[in-house]
Symmetry: C2
Subunit: 343 residues, 2 copies
């Protein structure tokens, strides 16, 4: 019924609600947005009227009038990876509830510069910005902090900007220790270079942490045991083939993402080698398909990172929130692709 009436009359506006409730549009606006200083009885009247007319505010009008865009920008170097889409999913989940929109962009160097330097063209469309795995550094962070745009950095630990990240060095250490404890002495590493010229500190941190952990155990990481896997399935496959073609190949390999591991496992199969027996493979992420592969890996709660980032952004947007770093837990998930070295 209400349905039919409203569709016959066209969409209800705030004026319709005001008339129906016998108050002014200003009061409707306040009542519907839970402002203080609205009499309880008035609020009820307004709510009922709005309900009767199936009223829903025109967000374009609201945003224009308030000057709030109610959208936040999200920048990431690689939009198509599982990791990024998981983060985005987490962010979106929280924002959908809060009725915020997400404007997603690739963090090519140009976009990155625009943000750091406060390009009007970008800023005018957003209330805040979330940077995912875009190398920022304290310098960039300080620049960000001077902008009037709230910012959250995901994937890096920073002082001047609120950030959330895992401890990449610790993740690397977990992987290295696991392989070392299993008895491996010849251990390989597969990382990835930056995409699109975006500087990316995550691979660097992980590589350094890994090398350090090996060193602490009296082992070396010779450059023939390091390959670039491009953070892709196919890249992981190529990297593993390269590693296995060495005259004395590694007996265990850490790849910095599970997707690269999928390719690496394919390579081993192509070489008639059995993962966990002939060569040990350990990943990073705990991708949904990893369990099916039996992949041993370092788990990071990616979606939670996105959710937390979104909530921190919301806090900043509402004026709460102090600048701080939020660490995220990492843990080893043992499955069947790791074992003692052969022989």
């Amino acid at each position: 019924m209400g349905d039919d009436i409203s569709s016959a009359l066209g969409r209800a506006t705030i004026d319709d609600v005001a008339r129906e409730a016998g108050v002014s549009t200003a009061t409707v606006s306040r009542a519907l947005r839970n402002h203080a200083y609205v009499a309880e009885s008035t609020r009820r009247k307004v709510l009922q009227a709005a309900d009767r007319l199936l009223y829903v505010a025109n967000s374009n009008a609201a945003r224009l009038a308030s000057g709030q865009t109610r959208t936040v920008g999200l920048l990431a170097p690689l939009l198509t990876s599982w990791y990024t889409s998981e983060v985005v999913a987490g962010v979106e989940e929280v924002f959908a509830h809060a009725r915020y929109d997400l404007l997603i962009g690739t963090a090519n160097p140009l976009a990155r510069e625009k943000i750091f330097r406060g390009d009007a063209r970008f800023q005018q469309r957003i209330d805040g910005v979330i940077l995912v795995d875009v190398f920022c550094s304290e310098d960039g962070a300080r620049q960000l902090a001077t902008l009037d745009t709230p910012a959250i950095v995901l994937g890096e630990r920073l002082k001047s900007v609120t950030s959330v990240s895992v401890d990449n060095a610790r993740g690397a250490r977990l992987a290295a220790r696991h392989l070392i404890d299993l008895g491996h002495r010849r251990i390989g590493l597969v990382g990835g270079h930056a995409h699109l010229d975006v500087v990316h500190n995550v691979p660097t941190e992980r590589a350094a942490g890994f090398a350090a952990a090996l060193e602490a155990a009296g082992l070396r990481l010779p450059h023939q045991f390091v390959e670039d896997g491009d953070f892709s399935i196919e890249g992981g496959r190529r990297a593993m083939h390269a590693l296995m073609s060495r005259t004395k190949p590694p007996t265990a390999v850490w790849l910095m993402s599970d997707e690269m591991c999928f390719g690496a496992l394919q390579a081993l199969r192509e070489l008639k080698l059995v993962a966990g027996r002939d060569v040990s493979v350990i990943g990073f992420d705990d991708h949904p398909a990893s369990n099916a592969f039996g992949l041993t890996t370092i788990r990071q709660p990616v979606r939670d990172i996105g959710r937390l980032g979104a909530r921190l952004m919301l806090d900043q947007l509402e004026g709460f929130g102090t600048v701080m770093h939020h660490p995220i837990e990492l843990n080893l998930v043992e499955r069947i692709t790791c074992g003692p070295p052969p022989g």
Copy 2:
């Protein structure tokens, strides 16, 4: 420079551009949106002025004034599957170019009803709606067609609404034939039930096509050879375990999604069975990880489906586009999980 000036002055509005170019705001508006009947020289002046001021139109104001929401709704039963996110990615890619926004929702029965019955609350926020794998049927389609909201249906072949879909029966036939040609006689099937009570015709069509193809070859599909895999990795694993526990298990199984196959391959590994030798497994999709699994499957170009759907929506929104069905090609990708039956 221009950068600094503009940020010092705050954001440029259409009035600023009009002043700078020495024309009216109406002319700026027309020139910037490539309207006909703007003198070439005027257009140039306006474009240059806009550029100098780093002007970008406030979309909220534009939408409010024009009455266009410039957003289209997308409904799908399961938002988190690879298939859906691929479709969404394709749609978004096209919409981003056209500066349209996407409003994504779960097609729970309520939302579905709201759309079909033209709920004002939903419609007032969108210019059109794309339904992904939401069971529609000719009846629903006719209802959709009477609404003033343009609609596109993905995953079903319809007469009254523009639709794009693969031929599910044909896909099923391709899978069945491949297994039959390999010599299999005891063939299993793993599909999935509807989520969230949403009726979903895809599994039904595929199951029917599969049974028909087996029948055409003189084979039967006994109910002990049919399992529900829930279209999830874990569901595929459970389904395969169930199938393999039959007293006389199938020698080959078609699972209606690659993700279910991942779980199925895990199950085989747990049972010390080798896919392609002891049991043949064939999927549907060609997921990015499928190549790494060596999975034989029926490939569908999912992202292309999303892209096409978006373009068709754009056509409708601009008044072009006649109602028609757009078929999408399917093809067999042979890898290593299928072989002749053992013995």
